[in-house]
Subunit: 459 residues, 2 copies
């Protein structure tokens, strides 16, 4: 498919060289860090302002063309793939910090800035933005996916840390949602509606974010357990005890092996927890001691404390590199990544059942998780194009999702729906999925905003 000539000419007039129909640019925006594949978009646009985004959307609306927002391309469920063609709007040039208001612990940014770039810019303020999905994602994409990561157990997800948005709607109108106040009861929570809407209701062109004070004291540690069950039960007990963990991450024995092989670590090949404490020196000491007592009850061994900032950075770089370290366990493989989240009391059984399924399949499937939220991932390694393996992996993923739903959990804790999880939406939401569809139709009657994602097909 190619762009209709009228639309192409208008976009060209608007953007000049910041519009591309080259194969290289289109193919780059057809890539995904997952096994999902789709044809490339018809064109790629690089706007530099909300007004330009609005103009692009109006041109596409006139032509009935899909509009697909693109952040850093790190999503795992094919959110940004142009499954129905159209124009991919790459927000990479809109990557500025607009305003830091340190005294209000807030920052306003453009959507293309990445979380690492943002935290670099914040360093001198004594503040930081905590949401940490591992990948160096863009803030716009993080909001669109309602992502979270290792620190959500303490600081919340994007739902909790976005105060307001500027959004371009499907008809090109530019609206603002939310305020700079810490809370508001003034009408529907549109900020909350757009966070997690995956570009299906509009394109985020500016975000106001809640910042947090850099903790006075930080301590991190790794400890080993003799079984997956003991490690995960330790997490349940820790969370129920009320210790304000800043991070509490599970990695299984396979992941520990991957770290040893590919990240230069020297861990026992057994399940581990990686933990971090934030606070005043007294509070960190107290929290760490209480955690140590609970962990000891579950047989934790080999506590390794990361006392310097460099040690901690190395630790969390290694954790964030788990995906790639694990992929390297099977050269050439790609990962079918699962992402269920369950109530805390069901976490030990849910992780154990997933591990058993993977063991039976004969595939390599390391398990890691932001277990303080009840969220964990199996990353099942398959040979690209091997339909048998992909089917096996998908069957494991499906059973994980079904078990999560059975105990009141969710099919995705943080990765979102994209094209990968859409078939399960009715199972999770029932009639409420139709309500999402009704909202989508009301705000995007032509169905041009990232069509084919998240909501039901129209009748």
């Amino acid at each position: 498919m190619t762009l209709p000539p009228d639309a192409a000419a208008q976009l060209q007039d608007l953007l000049g060289s910041r519009l591309s129909v080259s194969t290289a640019d289109r193919d780059h925006h057809a890539q995904s860090e997952s096994f999902h594949r789709a044809p490339p978009p018809d064109a790629v646009a690089w706007p530099e302002s909300a007004d330009e985004v609005a103009a692009i959307v109006r041109i596409c609306a006139d032509a009935g063309l899909p509009v697909i927002p693109w952040g850093a391309g790190t999503s795992l469920e094919g959110h940004a793939l142009a499954t129905q063609g159209g124009v991919t709007v790459d927000l990479g040039r809109m990557n500025r910090v607009v305003e830091i208001r340190a005294e209000d612990m807030q920052v306003t940014v453009q959507p293309g800035i990445t979380r690492e770039a943002l935290n670099t810019e914040l360093r001198a303020t004594g503040l930081f933005f905590p949401v940490d999905p591992g990948a160096n994602a863009s803030l716009g994409g993080m909001a669109a996916t309602r992502c979270s990561g290792t620190t959500a157990v303490r600081y919340g997800t994007m739902r909790d840390n976005v105060l307001g948005l500027q959004v371009v709607l499907a008809d090109g109108r530019i609206i603002r949602t939310g305020t700079r106040a810490a809370k508001s009861s003034a009408g529907y929570d549109l900020t909350g509606l757009f966070v997690g809407s995956e570009g299906t209701l509009g394109i985020v062109t500016e975000l106001t974010l809640r910042l947090h004070g850099q903790p006075e004291e930080v301590a991190a540690a790794v400890c080993a357990f003799d079984s997956l069950e003991h490690a995960v039960e330790c997490v349940s007990a820790t969370i129920q005890s009320g210790i304000p963990m800043a991070r509490i991450e599970f990695v299984d024995a396979v992941t520990a092996r991957a770290f040893n092989l590919h990240s230069g670590s020297d861990m026992r090949e057994s399940p581990h927890l990686m933990v971090e404490f934030h606070g005043s020196p007294g509070a960190v000491r107290e929290d760490a001691e209480r955690f140590g007592e609970i962990a000891a009850e579950f047989g934790a061994q080999g506590f390794d404390w990361a006392t310097t900032a460099e040690d901690r950075n190395r630790l969390w770089r290694m954790r964030h590199g788990a995906y790639h370290a694990c992929i390297a366990l099977r050269p050439g493989a790609t990962g079918v990544v699962t992402d269920v989240c369950v109530p805390m009391s069901h976490l030990p059984a849910a992780v154990a059942a997933a591990a058993a399924d993977i063991r039976e399949s004969g595939l390599i499937g390391p398990i890691v998780g932001h277990v303080g939220d009840g969220n964990f991932h199996a990353q099942i390694l398959v040979e690209p194009g091997n339909q048998t393996e992909i089917a096996t992996a998908k069957a494991i993923a499906l059973r994980m999702a079904e078990r999560a739903l059975k105990v009141g959990g969710t099919i995705t804790g943080e990765h979102g729906i994209g094209i990968g999880k859409r078939a399960l939406m009715a199972d999770e939401h029932g009639q409420a999925w139709q309500v999402m569809g009704a909202i989508k139709t009301a705000l995007d009657p032509q169905n041009i905003m990232n069509p084919g994602k998240l909501v039901p097909d129209r009748n």
Copy 2:
């Protein structure tokens, strides 16, 4: 207006004596704790299940009758007044705790339970529900208003503490939103959309709430300041320092006088802060010391520590009684209650400007606030029916709202829109208010769910 005979007969068949058209019952549901007034509804229904609520809504939908949900009747902006007639659905009989899941720190309740009744039922679990608007509101009403209160600075608002809902929609469908997992990225955040929707999108028939561990140690104190500015600047400094205050409440000199006259206290007639600390014994001691140092910088005096549970209960009962204590400063008066919320750095100026306006007006207008969130209220005492005074009070309220909007704040931090704040919605939201209207139209095409509230009039 009276009910159409067909609808009346169907409701009668469904509910028997739990439907009333008596003047007494209708008048009771035309009352409001504020100066807002409206005619009574045509009938009052007391359903006992979600299915009955759905049946009521279907009957009303067939007849085109408004449906107005009613919780405890404590809202302050006329949310539950039947301004266009119709059937008020009193949820007072749906007041059960459905299930406590202590290990997941969750509870599922019916909407009519009050927060005090809920916390009484939770007492033995070691958990509590923290959102504390002062009034003994119903949980359904608290969710509908997205309310907060004294503890939001630590535990968040209803937005942060509702995990999932069961909702009856305008066509009688019953949906469930959210999950029992701590987080989810599965589609639009419908829970967040219904929280704060004031009954305009549906009627909440069940809520799943996040609970918190009762703190190991609690300490509370009152201290006096020689000026309003010093007290409020102390709050800004405290919040910016990152001390995890559980409560930090401002009361002005007029309120202190009201407490002395009507609540049996013996306070200096000057501005005060009322604070509370939650945590481990070590953390509480550390936090209290750090707060004491900051407060001393702003000239705080006469620290009075409430060391026993009874002393603390007396303190917060007095704080929650501020509305009625202040009303008693002018016998027969009613209060025009304002509710702005501003970014922390603008709080001192906003409170000072409101105080100056009130002083100039000659009216009595005590100021209190959940200042840790930047939220404060002036309660301007007027003689009921005295249009001059009401106009003066409303003009003060309007200027407070305008000043809040000018600094990026909101016209309502926690009381909601109802009929009282609707005229200001376009000022706060611009085009985004129309987006709220589009969502309302999509989910309630007949406009029967609490019509005349929150969203724009239809064209």
